[in-house]
Amino acid sequence: MTRRALNARSARISRPVPFGRVAAVTLALLVIGSGVAPGQAQAQSVFNSGGLGLQTDPMDARARGVGGVGVGLSGWQMLMTDPAAAAGLRLPSISGTFQPSVTQVSGAPEAGGTRFPLVGTSYPFGRHVFTAQFGSLLDQEWAVTAERLVDLAAGPTPALDRYESQGGIGQARLGWATRIGEQLAVGVGVGSLVGSVERRFTRELESGAVEGGLENFRQVGEWRVSGATAIAGVNWFPSDLLHVGASLEWVGDMTLAPVRGTEGVDRSYSMPLTLRTGGTFTLAPDVRLVMGVSRADWSGVDGDLGGDAARDVVWGYGGGVEWARGTVRGRAFPLRMGYRVQELPFHVRGEAAEEKALSAGFGINLADAQDLPLARLDLSVERGSRDAGALSEEYWRTTVSLRLAGG
């Protein structure tokens, strides 16, 4: 195909960004993403050590940028927290989000890594849109070390205890969404909890304590996660200025089944019923106010964890502003700012924990076909903190989302 023919074919696409540039940006992000990302999601927080892990909502960069709770955002998108938001997608799409972060814990070394909180694909069929998504739920990557002295015949011997938790719990879900008239969209999704958890305790004694050396003591267990999950949501557009959304997410008992020779029986934990609601209000032609609140009831899991390990009710709320007038080389370049507070369900060191984050971000359509965005990139950066009594940590977290097609 000649260059002229290529130009002729792309003439129908308004304001095209050269494909090479799109590819270069995408490639750069993927390379960086793969470079920082290990094979599986890595931990970013010592707060992962509380209860069943750190709650990690499956939100994309736009939702993070405006500080929302992942429901009631204007426009059409794939969000696991808002199943009805996919109802207006006019083209098949694929989207992915990756999230590198760096955390500085008080009195501890810097930690960090990358996770992939949300990937999905959508396929419109008539008035219906079907989705398949995979998202994060609980992050369980963390470790504790402690120095001990062990009494042997040769005398007190230094030992290092290390307790590690690896793995994470996510959810895979199939969804359906549709529009009902011009002012209403609904969506539902059903799926399963997925993932595995590995816990490893190691005691390493100073090798010189005994001639010939000592082996490390290891106690390892691995469990596979299962459990049902379902969500239902609604989006309502009472006027051009207001967009309101709500979703109700149910997660059944989460079961951890021992695998690979791990001793013990299945363990089950009650999971919460989560209600999210939020909305977008257009303050001015290019200025939108986004707000949201969530409520999750974790009281059932407290008893499973031995009591006094989790909050009964966990609230999250946040909001922000999106300014859509910005452009770069004639292309829409919305800017966002937001602030979010999320109570964390599990106590850490016996203290209730909370997360706060100030966020900023932008989005850009890398390629459009008339009024349909064919490749869209969103990026947000959060500066946040987590606190539980005397324990605190601060983090920088970047979220990058890329959606191809979709409309």
Partner: protein, 434 residues
């Protein structure tokens, strides 16, 4: 734009698990204890055998007379054949011709001695003799010239005799390492014409009481008169083709001792029968207290060492003067002990033992953690069948057999200081999951 995004995304270019330094957050309560298991609680039977390897394979030959009491050692050396021909100039000729009809008229036995490892402060008198009876270089000992299965033949005189005397020679270690014995024409002719290699041999012994020496090389140099030109005498030589040393006394094995090493070597075979549980009231549980009853499984074992207590070798002359190595290897065919093939070393490398470590009362520990874990797994039915059976018997030996006439000696079972098994166990309580 791309640069901005790269910079922002680069925030997360770290991959480190967040780690708390807080022992209270570890849900597992681990306890490490040390356990001494008496010999009778982990070894079913023990046997010590001698006869592994040959004196002729020892890296050094020894010569001694009444050393540290009554230790005697003599070296026996066989020589190869002399060259079949010599090159000589016929009378009036300028070209040499081969002469195969030469006539031995005498010669020398040239011996070099070690001056570093076994120096003697005073000059020592050595004596040599031509061996007159057949002997086997591999099996010859002080009493027997041949000691093969079904073919034992004793020396006419214990100690490699009788011999045709070749005289004596003085050796002063401070002056050199070579000792030369004159060989008469009768002996030279006999060695030059003898087809039986066992009879082309010399015995070197010490005539000085209290000396212990190490012989490095021996060579027979013959002076032969040419048949082509009778005025010409040519020196030709034959090197050693086999050698050994014989010594007396030769300690065997003792049921109350664990002996390893020597030439030929000794090995101790221990048949393990490990306990899988310590019951209250047992000797072990007196130390463990409320931890008993205590199950022992491979996961709990972080160290296992077989502890031996040194016992000076008897007679004392057999106490190692140099580092010896000790190995523990499983016997792969218990039914063929003591000739069972042995498996891979349990500690991967042989354990070097300095002479000081073998003194009476000193303890030597052989780490056998991997073996104990495997055997426990087998006894508890936790071992994968495809991994093969773990032999129950372990041989203690000194590689590479033999290293010398000295051997290591340890207190045997039933004696004060008997071997024991030192176990270090880590026990954990609590669950990994919250």
């Amino acid at each position: 734009m791309a640069a901005l995004m790269v910079a922002l995304v680069g925030v997360g270019c770290t991959d480190a698990v967040p780690t708390l330094d807080d022992g209270d957050s570890i849900p597992v309560d681990a306890r490490t204890v040390e356990v001494i298991v008496p010999f009778s609680d982990f070894v079913e039977s023990m046997d010590v055998f001698a006869g592994f390897g040959s004196r002729s394979d020892a890296p050094a030959l020894h010569v001694a007379l009444d050393y540290e009491g009554d230790f005697q050692a003599r070296s026996l050396v066989r020589f190869g054949v002399l060259p079949r021909t010599v090159q000589v100039f016929p009378p009036g000729e300028t070209q040499t011709v081969a002469d195969s009809a030469y006539v031995p008229v005498g010669g020398r036995l040239v011996v070099t001695m070690d001056t570093i490892r076994f120096p003697t402060a005073e000059p020592v008198e050595l004596e040599a003799g031509a061996i007159l009876s057949e002997w086997d270089v591999v099996t010859a000992g002080w009493e027997a010239a041949v000691d093969t299965l079904g073919g034992v033949r004793m020396w006419d005189e214990p100690g490699g005799g009788p011999v045709r005397d070749l005289g004596r020679a003085m050796w002063n270690a401070q002056e050199g390492d070579t000792v030369v014995f004159a060989v008469d024409s009768v002996t030279a002719t006999a060695w030059a014409t003898e087809s039986n290699p066992a009879l082309r041999a010399a015995r070197i012994s010490s005539a000085t009481s209290g000396a212990l020496m190490e012989l490095r090389t021996a060579r027979f140099v013959a002076d032969v008169r040419s048949s082509v030109n009778p005025d010409t005498v040519v020196s030709i030589s034959a090197g050693a083709t086999g050698s050994t040393f014989i010594y007396s006394p030769e300690p065997g094995v003792s049921p109350t001792e664990i002996r390893i090493g020597g030439a030929p070597s000794r090995r101790a075979f221990l048949r393990f029968n490990l306990p899988t549980r310590f019951e209250p009231g047992s000797q072990v549980c007196q130390e463990l207290g409320d931890l008993c009853p205590l199950d022992i499984n491979p996961d709990r074992v972080i160290y296992a060492g077989l502890v031996l207590t040194g016992k000076g070798s008897e007679p004392a002359v057999f106490t190692p003067r140099d580092t010896i190595r000790m190995d523990a290897r499983p016997a792969l065919a218990e039914g063929r002990i003591p000739r069972s093939p042995l498996g891979s070393a349990i500690p991967a490398q042989p354990r070097p033992l300095l002479p000081d470590a073998l003194r009476e009362g000193r303890r030597v520990e052989v780490p056998i953690t991997a073996y104990v874990e495997s055997l426990l797994a087998q006894d508890l039915g936790l071992r994968d069948e495809e991994a093969g059976e773990v032999p129950r018997t372990v041989a203690l030996l000194s590689p590479f057999e033999p290293t010398g006439f000295t051997f290591a000696s340890f207190v045997g079972p039933g004696q004060e200081g008997e071997p024991f098994l030192r176990l270090i166990l880590t026990l954990s309580e609590g669950e990994l999951l919250p």
